[in-house]
Symmetry: C2
Subunit: 442 residues, 2 copies
């Protein structure tokens, strides 16, 4: 007799947790992901800011599941789901299922302004992080060769749009790079001319946190030298920089840490979706009318205790596990149970030695919160080796004020190239030729 | 009074050695490279085979030279050299020099068959290494999803063209990946069906080494399971594999470790160049008729003691230093001196615990040579942090039979895509959809 086939789409926090929860269950599992690696997204900004290597925070999915014999991992892209025929449509074939767990997550959204994507990359994948790393380092390289002071100022202005945890962490790391690490390597400009601007649409940073911690994070950022602008909406992003209302910030490097859009796969399930494309699931995480289809992770739209389940890693892990448990219940003829989200608290770091943390009524900020952030993130990283490599990388960076992964690789980004159209992906890094007399050393 | 301006083109072994040799000299130095990092090329194959991270073997040039105050580093691409006007032409401007040291090295050459490049990537840059890593890992992923056994065999056949040190090292590492690391993660195929074939045109591997060591390296490779074919010339490389004479090896992954072509910049110096484009310099490393233009590194064509100076890292370091010393001599009115190459020996590793080494009359092979290889390479790596990270990465890999950097990132490579044209750079990894009944576990 063939065992029931459980297909899990997505190898992120929710998908992996679901697969692990089904360890030893009498099922065949196929886990499908279009990438070969699980990504520890909470630390992705550290790759973008040259502190960590990609392999420190990403790990092959099939290695994570190596010892679980009822799982098969497949590198493929799911294109749609046919809930009537119980099949996942791949680029080249189909995958029939008895149970389906959809955990394909979310990416960033430009609120309908997709033309901004070329000027303000977001941060969701390893490729995104390396693109941001290239742009930031290339801006410094171009500034070194630029004779015009006005253009140097634009090259040394970095704008982060979005004041959630990712935006706050990026802004803190950007100013550190400039003040402490990269700047020492350059000769032609004053590192103090660096500007990092963080723009948030709502009235305060870190909207899901307690207002006191928002204020604390803003104070810490300002102490580091970040300019924080809240309560304004960006209306323009192009090669000149960022505009909001009548104001303009001239900048060559803009990073996007706002808007979230759920995976388009959610819309092929036939269920109601919210504005961001998240699937409105029943409390037991199933899709209405299809008890064999469950959704977990950032793709769900669900209220718990009167508040939406947030799109954070701990919630994804919990939902993934719960979906898998409900599959076990269905197999043994039990009733499915409703998902109960336990808020384990929130953490965000601000620069070199400060963070804000919130656990129920418990709130802390500063160095102790930073150590807590550090321990929690190391602890949850998958794989012993990664933990060790990350710890060494961080320790080095902390004590030497140095960042180890400052490489410009792959497609070149030209901060000084053509001002009207996004740069030619095949172009070499264009640098204004330095006039022979401008070398300032000797 | 302005100090003389020394321009160094290239931040490889020769260029960096030249810049360092001029520390404290009464000159202004501009070091130009089109990449922001110095690359420790002898270990590049370890990035290609997922053992090391890019930043373990690459380091920002301007950080290496941070403390040397008479150097300015410029990220730019030199397009040609105007020896009459004493100027380097950049993409966007010019750089006038009093002395010029050209050290732009070499890349791989397909002997006029540039159409092979799409099917058989070479190994000279970080991007090359990541491309190779993607292809190798993608071939395993595709084999896992492939139902046709003949196609699985093609996907699990890896051909390395060129039996010099890089080819030997790549072949040894490829078989290790398959036998020990990656294979454990897959379910659908037998790891023993892996084939690694190494093809060399001359009658033996490692032509510059002693014939006994060549034989030793061949024996070690065969013990690991590599098929070694010598004395044949490849006449065809395409999507089906590799052809030589009437023979054919059907393979989806072919790597190029043959031919060398010097940087095209050499041809703009007006001097005689050899077939590979290397510049025929005078014994003092200057270009005939231009005592202010010196060449160093893989770009030189020079006989010493009746044998050509080889294109290896120690020779590049020595020539770079010598060129800088001759600049110092010219500045103080002394006569330039002829370059004397001191052969410090050769080393090549073969898989997990064997290597061959040759120092003058001293020759060793096996585990002791492997330890020697290890110590020498760690020792010469630039930067304390890199040494530590590489040592940890290697120790981990050695004791756990694991490779830490097994990520498929960036442009996808589809080993099973269209058989007629090189793959679409924008395509997703195409995998044959596995029929629902093929999951073998449970």
């Amino acid at each position: 007799m063939t065992q029931p086939h459980v297909v899990i789409l997505g190898g992120g926090f929710a998908g992996l947790a679901a697969a692990r929860e089904l360890r030893g269950a009498p099922v065949r599992i196929t886990l499908v992901d279009r990438r070969n690696h699980h990504l520890f997204q909470p630390l992705l900004y550290q790759v973008a800011t040259a502190a960590l290597n990609p392999s420190d925070i990403a790990y092959p999915i099939r290695s994570v599941l190596r010892r679980q014999e009822n799982v098969r991992t497949l590198l493929a892209k799911a294109q749609s789901i046919d809930v009537e025929r119980k099949a996942v449509v791949l680029a080249d074939g189909e995958l029939a299922y008895d149970f389906l767990i959809v955990a394909t997550g979310a990416t960033h959204s430009y609120f309908g302004r997709d033309d901004w994507a070329a000027w303000a990359p977001g941060l969701k994948s390893i490729e995104d992080a390396l693109e941001i790393r290239n742009r930031v380092l290339s801006a410094y390289e171009a500034a070194e060769a630029e004779p015009d002071p006005a253009r140097v100022r634009e090259l040394l202005t970095f704008v982060v749009v979005g004041g959630g945890p990712t935006g706050v962490e990026l802004a803190g790391a950007l100013i550190e790079i400039g003040r402490q690490t990269v700047a020492r390597d350059f000769r032609s400009f004053d590192p103090r001319s660096l500007r990092v601007v963080l723009i948030e649409g709502s009235p305060r940073l870190l909207p899901p946190f307690d207002p006191k911690l928002s204020a604390e994070a803003e104070r810490e950022l300002q102490k580091l030298g970040v300019e924080v602008i809240t309560g304004v909406h960006v209306t323009r992003i192009d090669s000149d920089g960022v505009g909001y209302g009548a104001e303009e910030i001239r900048a060559r490097t803009v990073l996007w840490a706002a808007g979230v859009a759920a995976s388009p796969l959610g819309r092929t399930l036939g269920a109601t979706t919210d504005r961001a494309g998240r699937v409105q699931v029943l409390p037991d995480l199933t899709v209405p009318g299809h008890p064999e289809v469950l959704v977990a992770g950032d793709l769900i739209s669900l209220q718990f205790d009167g508040r939406p389940v947030p799109g954070v890693a701990p919630a994804a892990v919990q939902a993934g596990r719960h979906a898998a448990k409900n599959v076990r219940r269905a197999l043994s003829g039990e009733r499915l149970q409703a998902f109960r989200y336990r808020d384990k608290g929130s953490l965000a770091t601000v620069g070199r030695a400060a963070a804000v943390a919130q656990f129920g009524r418990f709130r802390i900020a500063g160095l102790v919160a930073w150590w807590l952030w550090w321990v929690v993130h190391i602890f949850y990283l998958i794989g012993y080796r990664n933990r060790l490599a990350v710890m060494i990388g961080w320790a080095w960076q902390y004590f030497a004020f140095s960042r180890g992964a400052r490489l410009i690789t792959g497609r070149a980004w030209s901060p000084t190239a053509s001002r009207d159209v996004p740069s030619d992906p095949g172009a070499d890094p264009a640098v204004s030729g330095a006039p022979p007399g401008t070398a300032d050393a000797g």
